[in-house]
């Protein structure tokens, strides 16, 4: 079964998640080094926007692809700062809004509020990070469109999908075979 998983979703959402299928060639590899030089060959051949499947994150692949650093960190940073300020606002404003003296301490006393700020920083930082991961992956999926997939990719096989019209497909197939793909499929 070679089609991407279809999530049961309402129409509009499906539009967002399941982008229209993209024609291309899928190569299945069982060796890391094989897929690495496949990547090299493809890049040499001027292919840019191909997708690499792997059951685990391998830095070799990342290096080979030479991708830019993920923008997720920006989300984390902004989230953290936002959380901190929310924490500060909560504790300071609320103490001021209902001013009661306890234990002869100042009504607005920063030290105890630092704890709140800190916790809020972590909380919002974490949540925005997740958001970042989800959004970025989503945008990527949207850009690439629905592409071929093989369930073995989550087990022990590596894979490369190269978007290619019928004209280029043949060339890509031979290239992947040459790099040592176990099998090559056109979809």
């Amino acid at each position: 079964m070679s089609r991407a998983i279809r999530l049961p979703l309402p129409k509009s959402m499906r539009e967002l998640f399941d982008a229209p299928p993209t024609p291309g060639v899928l190569g299945v590899f069982s060796h890391l080094d094989a897929i690495l030089d496949a990547i090299k060959k493809l890049r040499a051949a001027g292919h840019t926007d191909f997708t690499v499947y792997s059951p685990i994150p391998r830095h070799e692949i990342e290096d080979a692809l030479g991708q830019p650093v993920s923008p997720v960190r920006m989300f984390t940073l902004i989230g953290g700062i936002a959380g901190c300020s929310i924490g500060a606002w909560l504790s300071l404003w609320m103490s001021g809004d209902w001013p009661l003296v306890v234990g002869g301490k100042p009504i607005l006393s920063i030290p105890p509020y630092v704890v709140i700020m800190f916790e809020m920083t972590i909380l919002f930082g974490a949540l925005t990070t997740i958001l970042g991961i989800l959004l970025n992956s989503l945008f990527a999926a949207r850009r690439l469109g629905t592409i071929q997939y093989d369930p073995r990719f989550t087990n022990d096989k590596f894979g490369i999908f190269v978007p290619a019209g019928s004209d280029k497909a043949a060339g890509v197939e031979t290239l992947l075979r040459g790099a040592g793909a176990d099998e090559v499929r056109r979809g």
Binding site: G96, W98, P99, L100, V101, V102, G103, G104, K105, P106, I107, L108, S109
Partner: protein
């Protein structure tokens, strides 16, 4: 008054619903449902909802006849306070007086007349029927013996009863379980007069008590305590202050705790000691003696210290020292009472003490004869024994009992005798032991519902007027008697008629004295002085021989058992009032059950631990008591309190612990009195119980919770000195701390906290506090504090916002000489540790310096209590207001005495003392209405109000002129745990003792 009756009834109904709304709670989970109060349909004139009315009347809990003012809200009596006009108690009140309310609203009162039916059970009967029945019985009993047993009734009611008895040919016996027969007999022996003198404690310079517990149960405790503190308290260099107080008795009582020295003379030798001292005084001419003192020489010759010291059990130097101190004090007062007057030789002891006073020249100055005391007229125990004999012999056809419970205090014997009486009628409004054995019950009003009066001593008549509409279908016995006597008019008219006659001669009777009566009623009575009589030694002093029968003991292994009256339950009449049951005994701190005091050395011999049961078996009866190990009793003596062991008398009293009266002899002794000392065998039963006590550690361990000073040191202190100011931080550090504190304080100036505010505070003088615990009961009454009952209290769940901590004062051998009592309540800290930890601001600091506790906001994390170094916060573990709940604290109609100004706390919230904030706000509102500031002394907390020794002073610490801030500046002043920088608002003034090197804990 009478026109207002309807209004009162209406208000009573209103009151019930009000209380209902206040106390009814949801079943378990969730917030309480709100209930609507019934609004006034017709606004009664002279009644403002939410505003209290006050009625002056008289407390009848004991024969002292203290004046009280009842605070009545919407027709419900919610608080009793001393009547300042009364010369007896001068506006003060004891625990028993405070608890009178729980007698009024007691859930176990006899609600209506009842008659014993064929199958021996009681059934309701209407009043007319009941009175018919009684009239018939009286008719058929005429000539066959009619006896009316009453309490100590020196009153119009007593007079009426006597008049009626004369009519029907009966006799009256007024009976007090703890009679004063020995006093009268002893006075007769020494001075040939059977009257009781007045003792001027206030002006004594040296007080020597031979067993007289004048602070708890003897004669007129509140009056005496007030006087005692005037003499004994330390006030600067005042010469009269710090009269040394020496207590001579086999055990330390509540009174003994205030002693500077405790002489644990062998039981029965008190008189010997007194005569020995007299001997020293006479032989060494230590005091100017009256002319006829020489007659004593012969008598005293046999009492040289060297001769008797052995028998007494102390060394002769002590006797000589005491004699010197006593005589040289220029105002020595020796009183004999309590224990010392309850031996076989009690009368002789009293006589001996009289002689001691006589030779010291105190008779006539400090001991004044003339104004006989009410209790003096009570019948002797011999009379009761005689009555019992008559009953057994069937010579009593009709027995009427009012205000006495002989079946409890004279158990067994009287109980059996009752069976042989033709017809028995009780006027008691409680189902006590005697009443339960009667055939007809005509429940009397509670004194607070009654017209009446009481003559505590010659010249003083204290008036009684109803303060509330009767709670039940009771009827005033006075009215019943009038009806029986076939006389017209109500008892009210009868009494007021008598009152008119009190009008001083020569005054024009304004409208038949109505005006006079009205004025007197507003004052609470007619208070006059009575002339004193000089007394001389009796012609024949041969009977003054206290050395007779110093041996109380029987066979070898027998123990000397001393039975003493419980300070608050007294002879047992207090046992049906939860406030008194839950109040820890001031000495043992044990509540809800009886105990036997055993010296640790004795206990060690028997392998006895606190809580182990001892079976005491005397010739007359046997009872089991759990042991309480204490050094405050002689090793060769076991002491047992009365008060418990009721077989009837309502849910709070019934089947609780054991009745000590069972152990006592059933025969009157030589002077017609009752002997409260008995020889008995003590055997371990093997049973054990957890003692219900509030005592954690009896040792204070120098934690600075109580401070004690020697008198010389105290006198040497100059203003500005601070002997208890422990400087824990070095100079530079404290400077920095000061600076920081100021910065911090500035940052609290926000919102309501801006501007000038009072800082409420208390000053508590430990050298005045006797530990009598009246303040505790007053606090319960004022603040709707729940009583939790025996098993919860055993688990440390008591709610008492104010507790009295009793730490022994010991001599160099570690033997107790007395005790320091420290009332511990919320200190209203300036930097309160409890506040910042509360997550919801339920505990916060008010601008006027209180640690407010917002019950409605509290979620019950209990963090505040953990963080309170004084441990004065209490948690509602259950819903104590739940109707029919297992731990219901205010069963109907007890709920009617709840103070409407204070909430009844819900399950799951923390509660604590806030200086009676309702009173503070009340006074502030009043002041605002009158457009003025709150005056110093205008606000009086419940504890301060009732304190018989005036040890507590409340006021504004920010006002330098207020009494409290002056006391706070006293060099004796200290803060508990000041080292924690909690800045408490309560200043304690150190206890001052006559010893030079006092040690405690």
């Amino acid at each position: 008054m009478s026109d207002s009756i309807d209004r009162r009834r209406f208000l009573k109904v209103l009151g019930v619903t009000g209380a209902g709304a206040a106390t009814v709670s949801a079943c378990g989970i969730g917030p309480e449902p709100t209930e609507k109060l019934i609004p006034y349909l017709v606004q009664p004139e002279d009644q403002i909802p939410g505003k209290a009315t006050y009625y002056a009347t008289t407390c009848r809990e004991c024969a002292a006849g203290c004046g009280v003012v009842a605070r009545v809200r919407e027709g419900r009596a919610v608080k009793l306070e001393g009547n300042p006009e009364s010369p007896i108690n001068r506006g003060r009140l004891c625990s028993r007086g405070q608890a009178a309310l729980q007698g009024l609203y007691n859930p176990d009162r006899v609600p209506h007349p009842m008659v014993r039916n064929a199958n021996g059970t009681f059934e309701a009967i209407d009043w007319d029927g009941a009175i018919q029945r009684l009239r018939a019985k009286v008719a058929e009993a005429r000539g066959k013996g009619i006896v009316f047993v009453s309490g100590a009734e020196v009153s119009s009611f007593g007079d009426l009863v006597d008049e009626w008895l004369k009519l029907v040919g009966g006799r009256r016996l007024s009976y007090e379980a703890f009679g004063f027969d020995a006093l009268r007999a002893g006075n007769r022996l020494a001075f040939g007069t059977a009257t009781l003198p007045t003792y001027d404690l206030a002006n004594a310079k040296y007080i020597l008590s031979f067993g007289a517990d004048f602070l708890d149960t003897w004669l007129s405790p509140v009056e005496f305590q007030n006087g005692f503190t005037q003499a004994h308290a330390f006030e600067g260099g005042r010469s009269a202050s710090m009269a040394k107080f020496v207590y001579v008795a086999p055990r330390l009582s509540l009174t003994g705790m205030s002693a500077d020295e405790w002489i644990a003379a062998r039981p029965g030798t008190e008189g010997t000691l007194a005569l020995a001292m007299a001997q020293v005084i006479v032989s060494r001419h230590l005091a100017r003696q009256p002319a006829d003192a020489s007659r004593l020489v012969g008598l005293l010759s046999g009492y040289a210290p060297s001769a008797v010291a052995e028998a007494i059990g102390i060394d002769q130097d002590t006797i000589v020292r005491l004699a010197r101190e006593f005589a040289s004090s220029g105002g020595g007062l020796a009183v004999a009472g309590g224990m010392a007057t309850q031996y076989e030789n009690g009368a002789a002891i009293v006589a001996a003490v009289n002689i001691l006073n006589y030779v010291a020249g105190s008779v006539g100055s400090l001991v004044k004869f003339g104004a006989d005391s009410a209790v003096g007229s009570a019948g002797t125990f011999a009379d009761l024994v005689a009555l019992k004999a008559d009953m057994d012999a069937g010579r009593v056809a009709l027995l009427l009992v009012h205000g006495a419970n002989p079946a409890h205090s004279f158990p067994g014997a009287f109980q059996q005798a009752l069976g042989k009486v033709g017809y028995k009628v009780s006027f008691s409004s409680y189902m006590d032991e005697t009443t339960a054995a009667c055939d007809l019950i005509l429940p009397d009003h509670h004194p607070l519902e009654q017209w009446g009066d009481s003559r505590p001593r010659a010249g003083v008549t204290a008036f009684q007027q109803p303060v509330v509409q009767p709670v039940f279908e009771t009827r005033q016995t006075g009215d019943v008697i009038l009806q029986l006597a076939g006389r017209t008019g109500t008892f009210k008219d009868y009494v007021q008629g008598k009152w008119r006659t009190l009008q001083p001669r020569g005054r024009t009777p304004a409208a038949g004295g109505d005006q006079f009566v009205f004025d007197a009623m507003t004052k609470g009575g007619v208070y006059g002085e009575s002339p004193t009589r000089a007394v001389r030694l009796a012609a024949d002093l041969s009977a003054v021989a206290p050395r007779l029968s110093t041996e109380q003991k029987g066979s070898g292994e027998d123990q000397t058992i001393v039975v003493f009256p419980h300070p608050v339950l007294h002879d047992g009449r207090g046992a049906n009032k939860p406030w008194l049951q839950e109040l820890p005994d001031p000495v043992s701190k044990i509540a809800w059950h009886s105990w036997v005091e055993v010296h640790p050395d004795t206990a060690a011999k028997w392998g006895l631990a606190t809580g182990d049961f001892l079976l005491l078996r005397s010739k007359f009866g046997a009872q089991k008591f759990p042991a309480w190990l204490t050094r405050s009793v002689r090793p060769d003596v076991l002491a047992v309190p009365t008060g418990q062991g009721h077989v009837a008398y309502g849910r709070y009293a019934q089947d609780r612990s054991a009745n000590a009266f069972e152990l006592l002899s059933r025969d009157a002794n030589g002077y017609g009195g009752r002997t409260f000392v008995v020889a008995a065998t003590a055997t371990k039963t093997g049973e054990h119980r957890k003692i219900v006590t509030t005592e954690g550690s009896p040792r204070e361990r120098g934690r600075g919770t109580v401070e004690v000073l020697g008198v010389a040191r105290a006198k040497s202190l100059r203003p500005g000195q601070a002997p208890f100011h422990h400087e824990e931080t070095p100079e530079y550090a404290s400077k920095a701390v000061e600076w920081w504190a100021e910065r911090q304080h500035e940052k609290t100036e926000l919102g309501n906290y801006r501007g000038e505010h009072p800082r409420w505070g208390l000053a508590i003088d430990l050298s005045k506090c006797t530990g009598c615990s009246a303040c505790v009961t007053a606090c319960y009454a004022e603040n709707n504090i729940a009583t939790v009952g025996e098993d919860l209290m055993q688990r440390g769940r008591e709610m008492s916002w104010l507790r009295l901590e009793r730490y022994w004062l010991t001599d160099e051998h570690g033997e107790p000489q007395g005790a320091v009592n420290s009332p511990m309540l919320c200190q209203q800290c300036g930097n309160a540790p409890c506040e910042p930890v509360c997550p919801v601001f339920a505990a916060y600091h008010t601008p006027d310096g209180l640690n407010a506790q917002v019950y409605n906001r509290c979620v019950g994390t209990r963090y505040c209590s953990n963080n309170c170094p004084y441990k004065v916060r209490y948690f509602n573990w259950y819903n104590y207001a739940e109707r029919g709940g297992k731990y219901e604290a205010f069963p109907e109609p007890l709920s009617m005495l709840l103070n409407p100004d204070v909430t009844v706390r819900e399950k799951g919230v923390m509660e604590k003392c806030t200086f009676c904030v309702q009173r503070i706000r009340g006074a502030q509102n009043q002041a605002r209405l009158e457009d003025r500031g709150v005056r110093d002394g205008e606000i009086v907390t419940a504890c301060q109000q009732t304190c018989p020794s005036e040890a507590i002073v409340f006021g504004d610490l920010n006002d330098p002129r207020s009494r409290v801030s002056q006391l706070a500046g006293d060099p004796r002043g200290y803060h508990v745990l000041a080292g924690l920088n909690t800045k408490p608002a309560i200043t304690y003034l150190a206890r001052v003792v006559a010893q030079e090197t006092p040690s405690h804990g």
